[in-house]
């Protein structure tokens, strides 16, 4: 009998505290945001883990693209006949990617820097209109710009034609906005007083620009070069439309074409190479940038700042 009565007695206090504790959790204004935190952590796992899986599969030793088969091997990197290194088309794609990246940086950074200078020191209706187009090129879906450029190079600028040159020109049009935006915001934060002081002390316009303003802009120029390079590696819509045969397809386009069809994990290897290149450039760039901008406090997070601006 006593055993039959005992459970209700024992149960009542067992339930009450949990109930009270739960409501106390929600009533506590300083409670830890556990729900928000778990959503955030789940999101971060969801956004990063699949990529880790894809990288892992590039080091598989089996043939399957669906699962990783241990041990870690470089079979699809260099050893197998279908690996990226043994396939001359894939190997060329790596070099083509780098070539495009460097060429686009070499074009966009000087033109963008010059335009940013003109934009912030000499405001006119003309620069306003060009700036409008620069921003527009940035937000227009790449599909639209890609088709427009394809028609232009195949119908109008036939002396250039499709191929590497068209790809460089096309991607540069899309990427020119990075240096313009970054260097302009840097120029605004520098202000005009330095060049005015230099010219007051007798420097010519060119001297004040080269000796005073340009050295202050080096960090921003550097960041925009890194970003343009990293973004050009990933670019594939415009590049694909302007390509001429398999010889002018960079890694991104190769990955796109082979992503569904390829029977072996070489695709993952190419994607991993792209990722490593980007991370190498951005990471190395970030470290170099920290050194470059050491004197200027608060400038270390400009890469992040920029990413928030997009």
């Amino acid at each position: 009998m006593s055993a039959a009565i005992a459970p209700p007695v024992g149960e009542a206090p067992a339930i009450a505290p949990t109930r009270r504790r739960r409501s106390r959790y929600f009533r506590n204004p300083w409670r830890k945001p556990l729900i928000l935190k778990s959503i955030t952590l789940a999101y971060l796992c969801w956004s990063i883990l699949p990529v880790v899986v894809a990288i892992l599969i590039s080091f598989t030793s089996g043939r399957s693209r669906a699962i990783f088969q241990p041990p870690l091997s470089l079979r699809w990197w260099i050893h197998d006949d279908l690996s990226v290194w043994k396939n001359s088309e894939y190997r060329n794609a790596i070099f083509h990617t780098v070539r495009l990246g460097l060429s686009v940086v070499a074009i966009t950074v000087p033109i963008g820097t010059m335009f940013a200078l003109a934009m912030s020191r000499w405001r006119s209706r003309g620069t306003g209109a060009v700036n409008f187009f620069v921003l527009l090129a940035f937000v227009v879906p790449e599909l639209i710009l890609g088709l427009a450029l394809l028609i232009t190079f195949s119908q109008l600028f036939t002396f250039i034609g499709l191929g590497t040159r068209a790809q460089i020109l096309g991607v540069a049009t899309f990427q020119i906005s990075y240096p313009v935006i970054i260097i302009r915001s840097r120029l605004i934060s520098i202000g005009k007083q330095f060049e005015e002081a230099a010219m007051d002390l007798g420097a010519s316009p060119v001297q004040s620009l080269r000796r005073v303003l340009l050295p202050m802009l080096y960090p921003a120029i550097f960041v925009s070069a890194v970003l343009v390079f990293a973004d050009t590696i990933d670019e594939f819509v415009i590049v694909r439309y302007l390509s001429l045969g398999a010889g002018t397809e960079p890694l991104s386009v190769k990955v796109y074409t082979a992503a569904r069809g390829s029977p072996v994990p070489s695709v993952n290897v190419m994607a991993t190479i792209m990722l490593m290149t980007t991370l190498l450039v951005v990471g190395g760039g970030g470290l170099a940038y920290k050194r470059l901008a050491k004197q200027e406090k608060g400038e270390a997070s400009a890469v992040q700042e920029f990413a928030l601006q997009i």
């Binding site: 945001p33 928000l36 959503i39 955030t40 999101y43 971060l44 956004s47 990063i48 699949p50 990529v51 899986v53 894809a54 599969i57 669906a66 699962i67 000087p110 033109i111 010059m114 200078l117 003109a118 934009m119 000499w122 003309g126 620069t127 060009v130 409008f132 187009f133 620069v134 921003l135 527009l136 937000v139 227009v140 790449e142 599909l143 639209i144 088709l147 427009a148 028609i151 232009t152 119908q155 109008l156 049009t173 020119i176 915001s185 060049e195 010219m199 007051d200 007798g202 316009p205 990933d234 439309y241 991104s252 796109y256 569904r260 993952n268 994607a271 792209m274 990722l275 992040q304 928030l308």
Partner: protein, 329 residues
């Protein structure tokens, strides 16, 4: 009236400034700054404005009667709208044509609406947590939020192509879980065989980082003191959120939605990677399928014009807000 006076005022002030600068020795020779603006101006004229004109010229041009390749017409007074009328008919079923493009257009709106709503619903809590509650680890969290930007879209989609294979990890997990009553948990479900839900999932996965960053930036700017004031004056925590935080984060929400929807409308690659079936195609796929065939490039050009018309509102909103931001800098 008032605008005119301010303009005159501004002009006068500018002249005074110029005089002052000249006195101080700060002057630039004529054409100094225009020379700096010239390369970008020429570049954008040749490689941005001209291409868009070329799209018009092809869309309203003619087609070679023998080779069926597009012949652009460069003079606007010879432009011919018959191709536009034809594509219009294929979309809306007018002119006695079957509306063969209608499903793709409807699906595009469905996908973009669903995906951007999901991006907002999933992204807001994340951005809110990192902006308000991440404390000392804010920079680490911010870095992790930015990380997807450095991983190419291709790589991120490829990862899901791997995981969603019939013998891939997702099916392995589903078969392992006790979910036998679900038809999708049979262990060899074809996730990549033309499901609209997979495409929407892929689009959300691809673009959600672009949503979170503007949201985060907007939420991070809200001063803590406002929230404290609201609580001090007696508002409950949910009320503070709905009356203070949410209204103040509206610009961030709008910016995120615009940034996310613009590329979504032009997306065709997510579809091609995660479905590859015409049953899930979007406007982007209609355009992309036509690009490969020379005789149908003009149809692609017309479709691009339609797409541009759809996107005018979000694009002009984006351009207006960014230029206003620049003006306030």
């Amino acid at each position: 009236m008032s605008e005119r006076t301010t303009r005159a005022h501004r002009r006068r002030r500018k002249r005074q400034q110029r005089l002052r600068l000249k006195e101080e020795g700060v002057w630039y020779p004529r054409g100094f700054w225009p020379a700096f603006a010239a390369p970008a101006t020429i570049w954008m004229a040749l490689l941005f404005v001209t291409p868009f004109y070329a799209v018009f010229a092809v869309a309203m041009g003619t087609v070679d009667p023998i080779f069926r390749n597009p012949v652009p017409v460069w003079q606007p007074w010879y432009w011919d709208t018959s191709q536009i009328v034809e594509v219009f008919g294929k979309i809306f079923g007018t002119g006695g044509q079957p509306a063969i493009f209608a499903p793709a257009f409807i699906r595009t709106f469905e996908n973009v609406f669903a995906a951007s709503a999901l991006c907002l619903i999933l992204g807001y809590p994340v951005a809110y947590f990192v902006a308000r509650h991440s404390g000392k680890r804010k920079n680490l969290f911010r870095l992790l939020l930015i990380a997807p930007f450095w991983i190419s879209y291709m790589m991120r989609m490829l990862a899901w192509v791997n995981i969603l294979q019939p013998d891939g990890y997702l099916n392995m997990i589903l078969a392992w879980l006790p979910l036998d009553f679900l038809p999708i948990a049979n262990g060899h479900y074809g996730w990549l065989e033309g499901h609209q839900a997979t495409v929407v999932f892929g689009i959300v996965y691809g673009y959600i980082p672009y949503m979170i960053l503007p949201l985060f930036a907007g939420l991070d700017r809200i001063p803590q003191s406002l929230l404290e004031a609201s609580r001090d004056l007696g508002a409950s925590a949910p009320r503070t959120f709905f009356r203070v935080t949410l209204p103040l984060s509206k610009p961030g929400i709008l910016a995120g939605l615009v940034i996310v929807t613009l590329p979504m409308f032009g997306d065709y690659y997510t579809n091609n990677l995660l479905s590859r079936r015409p049953t899930t195609s979007m406007i982007g796929n209609l355009i992309d399928n036509n690009v490969g065939v020379p005789s149908r490039v003009s149809e692609a050009a017309v479709l691009v014009l339609f797409l541009a018309v759809i996107l005018i509102v979000p694009m002009s909103y984006y351009l207006r807000t960014t230029s206003r931001q620049e003006a306030s800098d």
